[in-house]
């Protein structure tokens, strides 16, 4: 018998960093997920169905609502208006105080409607199919008002008379802008650009199922990004006690930031269930989703950039107008993050940024993949290309010249962000090399020289972004995890994060498996039930792995220490003499591997369970560079994205398969904003993009195969070395693709094309450039 080596950690291949296949997928690819509308539960037996009457007008006073005809319709149980909910508090704006406190919302509009899609009444029916017929019978008397729209809605048609203005507030003081900011700059370029409104458009629309117990407690199933935050919102919206609400999260079909917390509709469904004394369900249509779910972005940027003619950027100013939509929700706060990330990865001696927030007669703005940071990246990446074009220097060279040099100790920016680690120049160079940048420029020159109808554009975008932020109240970002090992060799993890496509069940099991030696397939992840897991921060802001994952690792290690004490007693050994052998999930006495006890045996008596909280010192800042290659048909204006090369450094990668999936989704979603997607309203505030025929979400046929280059710069803020990856793809790709499309026609005199850079916009830009040169 060969001599056995002494047991030690690292004696076998680690599962960390490997491409473990998603344990979630067999279910999603075969029997299907169980989404809120699919939930079958005894508690929901006999549920009624809730339908929302929504405003068809952007702005109107409501002088009367008559539900009597609807009440006579087949299957109608009840109908309610805002008057029935009058005892519930108005919803204050986000950041009330900084944002005008008069800009409040009712769960159902009462005296006034402020956007097409605003709920004004509900009809409750026995069966799901009866609702839409009954909705048509609710008569609402509207007196139309002029719609306030755009980034300069003015004050002639006030959304909130008590506020006296359509300006909801400011981030930063406009009077603080320095008139001499650009003094000494050889070249100064300024442009006003639009970061357009987009729709999150998750495959699963919003939904709810709600039932009240005899004990006066609400149990509600809602697709969300964090059951605990959704519970807390419902407590506020319905004036309940915290212990009165249980939120259960079924499978969630995408969220993109727009399923955080609870919306008025979720609260109304719960209220209806209590009022009619039976469970109630709601599932919105795609039309409702596109007008009723919060939208994203909707910023206007006036960028001014100045520097030397050889490419040193000396000063940058970003003036933001945030269209918050009809009610200032989280969208009104997002400019704060845009301002925080004003200078991105660049070292710019003088920079300043301010934001004005306006309300308009449109769907409210909420969080959307990146939430405030993509806007900052889009602004400065366009500004740099405008500056590079003005001085005639290659935009990649301008970036390299102005990127912050590599740093390993945290770097504090002028705007207060504390970047943990970064090597931005390396990311830029890696992306350019992977793209074959010089060859692309040569190909571009050849096509320009030959007058090819398909001109080539190369767009570069360097970014840094914030992931895993705290709650902004001074507490460090943290997350909890509970790990329990059972005598049958299985384990369960409870997490306060909330997967909706990311792959937590796989990743969290990998982390526990690494410590415990229990195979991934024997580890179950649970989340999203506030009775089971009362605390948690949910999933958003690319926080889950670095905090929730690190908590799983920490809990697993703490569990091993508890088990070690039990093993020591079992083996009558000193705990310090015991070694945990993950290859057989057993403790052994060092030097005497035959004297061992398996972990499962230690779980036979008292529960072997640890709940822990992991905190990290602050947010982490992943970074990267995207290179987009686009062809533009200069006769039709049509842009085609032909290559997408990205470096996305998110620190140490736990599972490349999952990380690449996040990058793929993000890149596509970001590219969609660059040349396809936009929520469009007409001059009266009527939404024109109310189905997927009109709202063009991107599909596989509009994107190339992505070329992902690898780079990993670990953070020291958590033992995994991990930063967030959920949003980075969408942050880097949007300006890269936009820059590529502009670059393709730059030689024809085009300097800028607003997003989405559609065929029509490209053609119009080409025509304007041609007419401009003819007039010269």
């Amino acid at each position: 018998m060969p001599a056995r080596r002494e047991l030690a950690r690292g004696d076998y291949l680690s599962i960390l960093g490997t491409r473990v296949l998603r344990t979630e997928d067999p279910k999603f690819l075969t029997t299907g997920g169980v989404y809120t509308d699919d939930v079958v539960d005894d508690r929901l037996a006999g549920a009624c169905h809730v339908f929302f009457v929504r405003s068809p007008l952007a702005h109107a006073t409501v002088s009367g609502i008559d539900v009597s005809a609807a009440l006579e319709a087949p299957g109608v149980i009840a109908a309610f208006t805002g008057a029935d909910l009058a005892d519930l508090p108005a919803i204050p704006p986000s950041a009330a105080g900084l944002i005008n406190t008069e800009m409040t919302q009712r769960l159902l509009a009462t005296d006034k409607v402020r956007y097409v899609g605003e709920p004004v009444a509900v009809v409750v029916t026995e069966l799901a199919y009866q609702g839409e017929d009954a909705l048509e019978l609710v008569a609402v008397d509207y007196d139309p008002l002029p719609a306030a729209l755009g980034f300069d809605p003015g004050d002639s048609s006030l959304l909130f008379e008590a506020a006296g203005t359509n300006v909801a507030g400011y981030w930063g003081d406009p009077a603080s802008l320095r008139p001499d900011l650009f003094e000494g700059c050889e070249t100064v370029v300024s442009h006003t650009i639009v970061n357009q409104r987009v729709a999150p458009a998750p495959m699963e629309t919003r939904a709810a199922a709600a039932v009240w117990g005899a004990d006066g407690r609400l149990t509600t199933w809602i697709p969300n990004q964090g059951a605990q935050g959704t519970r807390d919102d419902l407590v506020k919206l319905l004036s309940l006690e915290p212990g009165q609400v249980r939120v259960i999260t079924p499978d969630v079909g995408g969220a993109f930031g727009a399923k955080f917390g609870a919306d008025p509709e979720h609260a109304v469904v719960a209220w209806v269930a209590r009022r009619v004394g039976r469970p109630a369900r709601w599932s919105e249509t795609r039309y409702e989703n596109l007008i009723g779910m919060t939208h994203g972005r909707a910023q206007q940027h006036t960028v001014t950039i100045g520097g030397s003619r050889d490419g040193n950027i000396q000063a940058y100013r970003l003036e933001i107008v945030q269209d918050a939509g009809a009610y200032p929700k989280i969208g009104a706060v997002l400019p704060m993050l845009t301002i925080l990330m004003t200078t991105g990865p660049y070292d710019i001696p003088s920079a300043e940024a301010i934001a004005k927030v306006v309300v308009t007669n449109t769907t409210p703005i909420g969080a959307y993949r990146g939430a405030g940071r993509p806007e900052a990246t889009a602004a400065i990446e366009r500004a740099i290309d405008l500056f590079a074009a003005e001085i005639g220097v290659d935009p990649a060279d301008v970036r390299r010249k102005n990127l912050l040099p590599k740093f390993t100790e945290p770097h504090r920016t002028k705007f207060g962000a504390l970047y943990d680690t970064g090597d931005y120049v390396a990311a830029l160079d890696a992306a350019l090399e992977a793209a074959g940048y010089a060859e692309l420029r040569a190909e571009q020159a050849a096509r320009r020289a030959s007058g090819d109808v398909r001109q080539l554009g190369i767009g570069v975008s360097s970014y840094v972004e914030i992931t895993g932020m705290g709650d902004g109240e001074g507490t460090p970002p943290s997350e909890n995890a509970t790990v329990e090992v059972f005598a049958d060799g299985t384990a369960t993890i409870l997490t306060g994060t909330s997967p909706h496509g990311q792959g937590h069940a796989t990743a969290w099991a990998m982390l526990a498996s690494e410590e415990l030696g229990i195979p991934v397939e024997k580890i179950t992840l649970q989340w999203g039930d506030t009775d089971l897991i009362p605390e948690g921060g949910g999933t958003g802001g690319s926080r889950s792995l670095q905090q929730g994952g690190a908590a799983v690792q920490q809990a697993s290690r703490e569990l091993i220490e508890i088990a070690r004490e039990r093993a020591a007693a079992e083996l009558e050994a000193n705990p310090a003499d015991l070694v945990y052998d993950t290859s057989r999930s057993a403790f052994a006495v060092a030097g005497d591997p035959e004297a061992s006890v398996p972990l499962t045996k230690l779980a036979e008596g008292e529960r072997l369970l640890v709940r822990t909280v992991f905190s990290q010192p602050g947010a982490t800042f992943p970074f990267g560079t995207h290179v987009a290659v686009a062809e533009v048909d200069i006769e039709t204006g049509k842009p085609t994205l032909t290559r997408m090369i990205t470096v996305d450094d998110a620190g140490t990668i736990l599972n490349p398969l999952l990380a690449e999936g996040q990058r793929h989704g993000g890149i596509g979603q970001g590219a969609a904003q660059a040349f396809l997607e936009e929520v469009v309203y007409d001059d009266d505030g009527n939404p024109l993009t109310t189905s997927f025929a009109d709202y063009p979400i991107i599909s596989a046929t509009e994107v190339p195969s992505y070329e992902l280059a690898e780079m990993q710069t670990p953070t020291s803020y958590n033992p995994l070395g991990a930063k967030g990856i959920g949003e980075a793809g969408s942050i880097g790709s949007t300006p890269a693709v936009q820059n590529a499309i502009v670059d393709a026609v730059a030689h024809l005199g085009v300097r800028h094309i607003d997003m989405p850079a559609t065929s029509r916009r490209v053609w119009e830009a080409l025509r304007a450039a041609r007419q401009g040169s003819e007039h010269r």
Partner: protein
């Protein structure tokens, strides 16, 4: 997304469908693939009281040669049309157009008769039929009649079909080896055409350049008089007044029609 209430009746034969149409008049709509009608009903843009399903009638499906014409049953699905050897050989533009409709799910449900009756000016098959100089067979209470494509499309989503009539078959000339060209300008691959152009043997048809699929007659005339494709294409938008939407204004559409017509003429296969 739930339609207004309606009755559903599966027709047992084309004759039965005509009887039902006679009974219900304009309260009824014929249902075949349902990929235009059902979405409109779900959005309540259409609220027929009765749906008469002819989608299961085998006698209305399939492709046959009849002297100088191919006869295509009205309920022939786009995917079957695109794959039919006879069509690919003798009316290849039609097979190609069928393959451009929507996405695979739509092509496996949607029918040629349905698409033509729906008469969306932005759609592929109406434009293709006009380019091919085809015709449709219509059955009604008084018997059957044949209407040329140029006369069939009468307005925005309007055709020569009466409320008591049924489009039973489509006829196109058998023209193996005749050059043809097809250009469809879209935002995304499965979208409707912002502008479309189909050319075959000197005939030029345009999609989404007006209320119906149109002939680019000025360009056809220039071609016939010996103009080069590029010169003829300059006249492709003459006399058109296309609609405006968020994808294109009138001027851009007219520009696209000229560019796409030139490309369709210059890149013909046959």
């Amino acid at each position: 997304m739930i339609p207004a209430p309606f009755e559903y009746i599966a027709a047992e034969s084309p004759g039965h469908a005509l009887e039902l149409l006679a009974d219900y008049g304009d309260e009824a709509k014929l249902l075949a693939g349902g990929h235009s009608l059902l979405p409109m009903m779900k959005l309540r843009l259409a609220t027929p009281a009765v749906l008469i399903d002819i989608g299961r009638l085998e006698q209305l499906a399939g492709v046959q040669a009849d002297d100088g014409e191919l006869v295509i049953g009205a309920t022939t699905r786009h995917a079957d049309l695109a794959a039919a050897e006879l069509v690919r050989a003798e009316a290849p533009l039609l097979a190609y157009a069928a393959a451009q409709v929507g996405d695979p799910q739509i092509r496996h449900r949607g029918t040629i008769g349905g698409s033509l009756s729906h008469a969306d000016p932005a759609a592929d098959l109406p434009m293709a039929l006009v380019a091919l100089g085809g015709s449709v067979e219509i059955q009604g209470p008084g018997g059957s009649r044949v209407v040329a494509a140029d006369d069939f499309f009468q307005g925005f989503f309007e055709t020569a079909l009466g409320p008591d009539e049924l489009l039973s078959a489509v006829r196109v000339p058998r023209r193996p080896g005749v050059p043809w060209g097809y250009q469809k300008f879209v935002r995304r691959s499965n979208d409707w055409a912002i502008v479309g152009v189909a050319v075959v043997d000197g005939r030029i048809a345009l999609a989404n350049m007006g209320a119906t699929p149109l002939r680019a007659t000025a360009a056809e005339r220039a071609l016939a008089e010996g103009a080069s494709p590029a010169a003829a294409a300059e006249h492709a938008a003459d006399g058109t007044s296309p609609g405006e939407d968020m994808h294109a204004d009138r001027e851009y559409r007219r520009h696209l029609a000229r560019v796409l017509t030139r490309r369709a003429l210059e890149h013909q296969t046959g």
